[in-house]
Assembly symmetry: C2
């Protein structure tokens, strides 16, 4: 395995799973060339004139799609830990005796630990996609045949669009669909809101299979996935467990420390002048973010300020803001609770977006950079304002990137983190894995104070005179280290990279190594 | 100029405007190969992070887009005869001294006779797109430097998608847009309903310019055109004359003959068993079609039957049916009146469609073939059930194809025509120009009777015993010829083809020749 040093000073492999790699060159430095990937031209002469593309079962659909050893098969993660389709899919693939599949999910969850046996027996060669939990641990232990490739939501679109990843067969689980393949996520027993993570797959894959447990007569309206991109439709009893489809992290935190962080963020937004008429922000799920939304809402009401748009992952807290007229729009990439699903279905101002509109860096701009402030989390932030969201300080790869890298392009990016978790520092001297470069991270807010990136002189000036505990990040670091001790560096085998982290432009920003225990 | 005989027995050029052509091979016979066209990969690094793509004026946008001699520039026709942008565009191009543009409109109208001077002086080399009225006459007179290429709405999508027509710069007039380029047709002073005819242009063109007279803060919702496909936004005083944007043909006919035809269609739909619970139909604008919709509605109410969907061009008559619960959905390709625009804006069950969803023959199926019955017009129908919509019997090319060829794929296609117009027969021995082949035309309904294509034995059987005047088409032809006399064949110069008619798959179905007077 050959390595090269990238612009962030990180060693990254020159080649991964047989594909040559470009090292990270810095933000906005890589210049793509050429034209986008293009799917085969089809003809209506080969599709049923009555629009009925329903086939008997998944096996028949896969056969018709020409499933072969070594193909790339994609799935989406809108059902999160409630997904039933991916396991069913690989059970079917296994039963067909097919080997060496490159699985290209938009993310995987603990429910997919069912697939470890297929990684063991060679049905799946490797995973390119976020690995939350058990599959990440499996990968970290060096057991996967190929290397993991982690991409942000926008990076996944970019990779498909640019032809870096060619999808042979996309399998799209759809809460409601018609026999033509039009599909929507906003209704049906397993409603998940939207299907944006599967949109690129539907457009660019050679073959597209829609799997649904709620087949309705044509037309399925809205058609978030267009039947004109779909080859086969499969009806099954259940595509997922609705109770697990919504995120588990949709409760406002009860921790006093985290509530304090949330209050600091809200105050920062006001004191720095970000919270003003027509502003915009992004805040995902997770206890701190939800509490922040609640606090910000109070401040907005007090000041009589209205947002132009809020970027979701939506939750009932954001939906309330929309319904109370505190924002014109929610531009939503994924719904995190049932209120989000309902609102998206009913309210035309709760707009579903996709990684194309929001995050694709190889487009003609995207929404992320128009957002005034993004409030995000991290597993580690270092004193140079670099951040990590994929590995823990013990080196284990346990989280995906999600839209995190993409959202960093907001005008102001705020990382909201406790200064330590379970006596393990979050503010560190150097991140285990570099996922977000310093120049895009503006503010780090902990319960011990607010650290502003020295590059952002404007923000430092803006909060002068504020009652916020603004402090150098080094000071917070020293304090945390004094309490927890300096954390041990992870024990890893530097000869055995197990995964790479892509930057939003397809270059490699860092490497994840086998953890040695 | 070399010709070859196609599968319909028509002579068509082997090469047009320097591009080799495939002769029509029969319905569903041409097999496309290869992959779709693909636009260049861009990077956000080259676009403003704040999303503001507004430039000073059209000239600056064209300069930035790299306008050069010989380029292909596309426009759309949602403003019909009220369009102000295309004339402004070519005034600008002329002022920049650019020559030999291939103008690729989705259609042109009498308002564009302003451009004849640019065809004369070499600013525009030729037009590929429907030519309604004066530009068609100009072309018929053999004055255009290149040959006209007429495509259906679906054929235009197919040509762009398949890479037959590469658009260098798409100029999209938008009734409402934001600085990022998100745009919609359903609101604003020049609201036209939707922008579906410009959708392919926005996706596949190298450069996309949005021109609007109603710039709103980001986000423009809905975004029928996605800003992520847009390079520049230009604000102008007015993009069109709203009073001329809606079609002129939205009055129910008062002619007793035409009312009779409309009643026959409605009765045919009922007697043939097409009008049943959950059925679907397509009926455009034009006096007969509107009257048909009114009659059908009465029959549906009387029988207690509800449609699943109606395909627009929508009018107030179809909107009433939606609002009275006589159909679940309108699937609309263009709004023909202000009620259509309002309904599309307000009613989520009035769905905007595009040539991709509805008509593209080189897709994985499309909506057109799922429609139970399409009611269409024609300039001529012959005794073999071939039909013409582009030329008159004098040979002049005065109309575009619109979605007509695409809609022929309905389960039952009904041509509703008076048997003659101004003493010129519509039912003829052989069509002047073949636009729709016999095998897709099932029923011809005139005031003199209903002729069913002998291929459709099922329909002949279904209406046995009906009080409809079902007659052989030859009988109607003889009657009409006895009244009007046999029309003179047009005087054309067979050595000088002036335009070709594409079939839905990109093959050439017929040739239009210079008219000699």
């Amino acid at each position: 395995m050959k390595f090269q040093k990238n612009a962030a000073g990180r060693l990254v492999p020159t080649e991964v799973n047989g594909q040559p790699q470009t090292p990270y060159l810095g933000v906005g430095k890589f210049r793509p060339t050429g034209r986008k990937a293009a799917p085969p031209i089809r003809t209506c002469a080969d599709y049923p004139a009555d629009g009925n593309k329903v086939v008997k079962n998944l096996k028949e659909a896969l056969k018709k799609a020409g499933l072969k050893d070594g193909m790339t098969i994609s799935t989406h993660h809108h059902f999160r830990n409630g997904d039933a389709v991916t396991n069913m899919l690989f059970d079917t693939i296994k039963s067909m005796g097919i080997k060496n599949i490159r699985w290209f999910p938009s993310a995987s969850f603990p429910v997919h630990s069912h697939l470890i046996k297929y990684l063991e027996d060679g049905t799946i060669h490797h995973i390119e996609g976020s690995m939350n939990g058990p599959l990440g641990r499996y990968c970290s232990e060096g057991k996967m045949k190929g290397m993991g490739v982690l991409r942000s939501h926008g990076g996944r679109w970019q990779a498909i669009q640019d032809g870096e990843v060619h999808i042979d067969i996309a399998v799209i689980a759809a809460p409601t669909a018609d026999p033509f393949g039009n599909a929507t996520g906003d209704r049906g027993p397993a409603a998940c809101g939207l299907l944006g993570f599967a949109l690129a797959d539907s457009i660019y894959a050679d073959n597209v299979i829609v799997v649904t447990d709620n087949l309705v007569p044509f037309p399925c309206v809205p058609w978030q996935i267009q039947g004109n991109n779909v080859d086969y439709v499969v009806e099954v009893d259940s595509i997922g467990d609705p109770s697990k489809i919504v995120s588990g992290t949709t409760q406002v935190t009860k921790s006093p420390d985290r509530l304090l962080i949330a209050e600091y963020i809200a105050q920062f937004m006001e004191d720095a002048g970000i919270m003003k008429e027509g502003f915009s922000f992004q805040a995902g799920a997770g206890g701190i973010n939800l509490a922040f939304a609640v606090y910000l809402k109070e401040r907005m009401k007090r000041k009589g300020v209205k947002a132009r748009f809020i970027r979701g992952g939506s939750t009932k807290y954001l939906v309330e803001m929309l319904e109370e007229g505190l924002t014109d729009y929610i531009l939503d990439g994924q719904t995190f609770d049932l209120e989000g699903v309902r609102s998206m279905r009913e309210n035309p101002n709760h707009v579903n977006t996709s990684p194309f509109t929001s995050y694709n860096y190889h487009g003609k701009g995207n929404f992320a950079s128009m957002v005034d402030a993004a409030v995000l989390g991290a597993t580690e932030v270092d004193i140079n304002f670099n951040a990590n969201v994929v590995t823990h300080s013990d080196g284990f790869l346990l989280h995906g990137i999600g839209g995190w890298q993409n959202a960093l392009f907001a005008k102001t990016t705020i990382l909201a983190v406790p200064s330590f978790r379970d006596r393990i520092p979050v503010i560190v001297d150097e991140v285990t894995t570099l996922v977000g470069p310093s120049e895009l991270i503006d503010v780090v807010i902990t319960e011990r104070g607010v650290a502003i990136n020295p590059r952002r002189k404007d923000l430092i000036k803006a909060v002068k005179g504020s009652s916020l505990p603004v402090r150098p990040i080094e000071e917070i670091y020293e304090e945390v280290t004094a309490i927890c001790g300096k954390p041990q560096k992870p024990k890893v085998n530097k000869e055995k990279p197990v995964a790479i982290i892509k930057w939003v432009d397809g270059t490699v920003i860092d490497t994840v190594y086998q953890v040695v225990q």
